[in-house]
Symmetry: C2
């Protein structure tokens, strides 16, 4: 089963286009987990189990694990997701980008060590920086295109001689050259719904990973209207902090589940 | 002491602009290290100690450690470099790039966990993706500009309405906006000496990290002529594989030292 077919099946089966981002910040953990050595794993595992009925997949953000040397807990979490929720795609958010021989190592890290179905990558270094990922035919790569942060415009909005902004050049490059085997997706931020629409128009039914709703302020209805594909699907709409930290009290699991359910419903209502 | 002043002192004291890149590939290790659980650390440590007299710094490439779960060995290696060779800058080659809250985590990973003096970053996500690194006033960031790989041209050569290629827009952005406290450097590949010259012209005496000599084929004399600053310095010219794997026999330490010495001399001769 490929990343694409697993994602299609997850959208159909779950009826959800919500992806829960796992950005564990120990300072924001509920009191009962403070001081536990495995707190990162335990927190994320319980969030995963509580929200699984309402999502089309999970997206761990590797920086949060690496900053505190918790790679083992990330590996345990990925194993947990694969074993307990085998129908839900696992996207490793790593945004790597390097020359071929090094990219081979990053591909091994994402696909072999963590068993991810897909990984986010940065396009700045061009085709040979993504080629080693594409060798893994059953896995996906999701390329940064129009990111949700304010500074995204610094480079991504630079227009070429024909007036085409860089992010649309990236979208075209991925659609026309890198996606020969249907392994690619694109990251476009919910904070820029107009650009989501332009990317969707350019790339057909390619899956879009859309961060930026919730804490970053993107609108769910605007995102959905701009980003849905020809089947009314095609999006992994990411929410991290609004789900993870819905409550710091003893009801944190239920609060996360409720936040996920409500976000799924808001997405469905707009679709 | 800042990254910049440490680098200046290392250039003066060592008389070398060679930086040795630590990209440990266990398949290429000498026979005596095969099968050793700490082989990655031991190999890199001995390369570091053998080549230290001939270099201006070391650059571990994190992907090679992450692919095989060897973060602990990377941490031990970084500690070794800081303790045994405290005058030599330690550049963590990670090429990270992410939104602010995540970039904070990556900055902690590089500067706190590994104690790096500087880290390589990707500019695609713009100013707020580098701002968290710049908060660490005594550390450096080295921004990808014109990379040494063939695919580098895919994006970096796209010209704006005025005919300025993207890599020069990045050089200008870093020099004019991101480098207010003198913390920045740029990555420009030795495989494109013409572009090294254009970047040097644009950014004054900003340090350049230059990969691409050795295995990738860049010319040392062309690189040095194009990249030297107003003092005849200003470059960290990286060599990895040509030094690390100079011999697979029992003389591997001496062969690495000899390769480093010869490369340093070739750089000096051209300067």
């Amino acid at each position: 089963m490929t990343f694409k077919s697993k994602l299609d099946a997850a959208w159909s089966k779950s009826g959800s286009m919500l992806m829960v981002g796992l950005d564990p910040d120990p300072n924001r953990f509920p009191a009962e987990l403070q001081g536990r050595s495995d707190a990162i794993f335990e927190f994320c595992r319980d969030i995963v189990d509580a929200t699984a009925p309402f999502v089309c997949g999970f997206k761990p953000q590797i920086a949060y694990f690496s900053a505190c040397g918790a790679e083992d807990q990330l590996a345990a979490l990925c194993r947990h997701i694969r074993e307990k929720h085998p129908t839900l795609p696992l996207v490793l958010d790593a945004k790597r980008g390097d020359i071929g021989s090094t990219a081979e190592q990053y591909a091994r890290e994402a696909y072999e060590r963590y068993g991810a179905d897909a990984v986010t990558v940065n396009p700045y270094m061009g085709h040979d920086s993504v080629a080693p990922y594409l060798e893994w035919k059953d896995r996906g790569i999701i390329v940064l295109c129009r990111t949700s942060n304010p500074g995204g415009s610094d480079l991504q909005f630079i227009e070429d001689r024909d007036g085409t902004p860089l992010y649309l050049r990236v979208a075209s490059m991925v659609a026309d050259q890198w996606n020969r085997d249907g392994q690619c997706g694109l990251v476009v931020g919910a904070t820029f719904p107009q650009e989501i629409g332009k990317v969707r128009e350019r790339v057909g039914d390619m899956p879009l990973l859309i961060p930026g709703i919730g804490a970053q302020g993107g609108s769910v209805p605007d995102t959905v209207r701009a980003g849905r594909d020809s089947r009314g699907l095609g999006m992994m709409i990411n929410s991290s902090r609004a789900v993870l930290y819905a409550s710091k009290g003893p009801d944190w699991r239920e609060a996360a589940a409720e936040a996920a359910r409500a976000t799924r419903d808001a997405i469905q209502a707009a679709a």
